[in-house]
């Protein structure tokens, strides 16, 4: 299955929130939708889920316009919340039924998930008697119980302790391996790096970067060197304005062009006592900060 958004535009009043975004997510792979607060992630997700229409652009499923009657979507919103005063099983069944399940199937599926997430003992309790992390697990069931083809998880790991985060990781991996389209949105880049094969970074209503993470990293212009040495001061003096110290106490050398790197490395190793010299490999976090950082 392939889920594709094509040239989606959306404005609220004067404010243009999405200025024509396109991306493609495939089944069996997790797709990371990244961006700072207010970049347009939630709006994209809502258009994708048909909460409201786009001003222009279309959502396609396997090349055809998506039919919301047939395609089931599971959603874990960033703003968590269910009915605090209602019995857990009652509201889970309610949401499953709203998503098109029959009562019996809903109960069966919910019991499976309650058991899978270790929440069976809370089945008949009121939601507000549970801790925040456990409420989050209950909410996760609303996204998964109706066995949706597309799973959208907005900040799924926030507020979970390491054990629960581990449990959630397993569940997400399972869903991916079942061939579902999993859409991730998170600010925690380590999780994105762990799960997602592809990402798209939203900034100011545009997608400023997208593609496979490995590809993005490989294509990242390799024009920075990292130098560890006892003689950093001398090197700084030598290189002048082209270098700066990073937080780890290493010297980052900005090259004029990527092709220069061999020459500069050779030059430095010959002149100074170098402990280590390497080409700078950006983490996803670095890439995110670089692309999502500046507001246009």
């Amino acid at each position: 299955m392939k889920l594709e958004l094509k040239d989606i535009k959306k404005s609220f009043g004067e404010k243009e929130v999405l200025k024509g975004i396109s991306f493609l997510a495939e089944s069996g792979k997790a797709f990371g939708l990244l961006g700072r607060n207010g970049a347009g992630k939630t709006t994209s997700i809502r258009i994708l889920m048909n909460v409201f229409g786009a001003d222009s652009g279309e959502v396609f499923m396997d090349g055809k316009k998506i039919d919301y009657k047939k395609v089931k979507i599971g959603y874990l919103p960033e703003e968590r919340g269910l009915y605090p005063k209602k019995k857990i099983i009652d509201q889970l069944v309610y949401f499953a039924e709203l998503n098109g399940m029959k009562y019996k199937d809903a109960v069966k599926s919910i019991d499976y998930w309650l058991d899978r997430l270790g929440m069976m003992e809370h089945r008949n309790k009121r939601l507000d008697t549970l801790s925040k992390g456990n409420q989050q697990k209950i909410q996760l069931i609303t996204a998964l119980a109706h066995n949706p083809e597309i799973v959208i998880l907005d900040e799924p790991f926030s507020g979970l302790d390491p054990v629960n985060a581990m449990l959630l990781k397993d569940v997400v991996k399972e869903e991916i391996s079942k061939g579902k389209i999993v859409l991730f949105s998170s600010h925690q880049m380590n999780y994105i790096e762990e799960f997602c094969d592809k990402i798209a970074i939203l900034n100011g209503g545009n997608i400023v970067l997208q593609g496979e993470i490995t590809e993005i990293k490989r294509n990242y212009v390799r024009d920075k060197l990292i130098v560890r040495s006892q003689e950093l001061d001398k090197i700084r003096e030598y290189l002048g304005a082209d270098c700066f110290m990073n937080e780890a106490g290493e010297l980052v050398v900005q090259l004029k062009a990527a092709e220069e790197k061999q020459k500069v490395m050779k030059d430095l190793t010959e002149k100074y006592d170098i402990d280590e010299i390497k080409v700078f490999e950006p983490s996803l976090n670095d890439i995110f900060v670089e692309y999502a950082g500046e507001q246009n």
Binding site: R46, P77, G81, K86, D90, Y94, T142
Partner: protein
Amino acid sequence: MKQFGTILKFELKSYFKNKVFVGLTIALVALIAVLMFFPKIMTAFDSDDSETEAADTVAGMILVSTEGVENADMIEEAFAAAFSDYEVCFTEDELSVIEEKVINGDAECAIVMNGPTSYAYYVNNLSMYDGRTAVIDEVLQNLHQMSTMLSSGLSAEEAVAALNVQIEHETVSLGKNQAQNFLYTYIMIFALYMVILLYGQMVATNVATEKSSRAMELLITSAKPTSMMFGKVVASCLAGLIQLLLVFGSAILFYNVNKSYWEGNMMIASVFDMPLNLLIYMLIFFVLGFFIYAVLFGAIGSLASKVEDINTSSMPLILLFVAGFMVVMFSMTDGNVDSTLMRVCSYIPFTSPMAMFTRIAMSTVPFYEILISIVVLIASVLGVGVFSAKIYRVGVLLYGTTPKIGEVLKAMKKA
């Protein structure tokens, strides 16, 4: 449609699980039961001690001073007869002593005669319902008329006959009997008023709670806003109807159980003597009136981010409703339900459920007028429903401060 059913079921279930709803219904039924069984309970109490008590009961003492007034004997006799519940004492005390006795409660009140047709009435605290002066006036008037007649030569029998002539009359009402219909119209209008306000607020609170608990985030992705809104409104309408049915049903049941005790009470009998067609009109106007307000309350709830905001944002709607209620109530108590104002109100969709129903119940309204009113109301319910659903669609996604009307309208055009 399936979603609508699911939502309706869920909402209705939460009404029946709501302790306030259940408690209120039980309390109302219990109250009705007590009211309806009241005469039975009273007779049960009375039958035991009525005889022994009646002899002893003296409500209080009335002092009468007739010093220097002619016909004192007749006056005293007449007072004793008129105030048979009281111990009527004749006194020759000074005025100050009489005042003293009234103030310290020895005597309920005092009548100090200045002449055959003039007196002063002394009482400690004048009650709002004190009707004794009226009785005294009548007694003295009768005495005066008697003595005048006697002195002009009539015999005592002739005088009594002339004073106590019985006039027979018969009223034939060709339209409605307002006196008879008043009470049940009043009850119905009041029930409508209470139910719309109560359930309207409940719908608004319900929506706002979903929004503030962020359950809305998930709901809007799972269900259509129109299904959500109408599911809620229809559920609350059903809950309200069921509650009314229970209350009125138990009233009718208890009335019939105690029918023999209520015989002779015209007022209560008139309430339970409601014609069927009026009941049907009641149902029509109730449902339509409920809808038009409930959808608006739903829209208002969707615009609030916090439950507390509802109080202020629903104020205009409540004021409109209360104004309509006031017009109807004043017209009813005036007995003038066909005034121009009421005629106008019976076509305006926000007031017509109460105004038209009152006119049907207490006056004779041509059928075509009723039909026009109902058609206008149905059209408005649909119009307001679509309008509210649009607000709801926009409102549920807006967080932060309650948006201005202009902003909402702008957003609605977009959506």
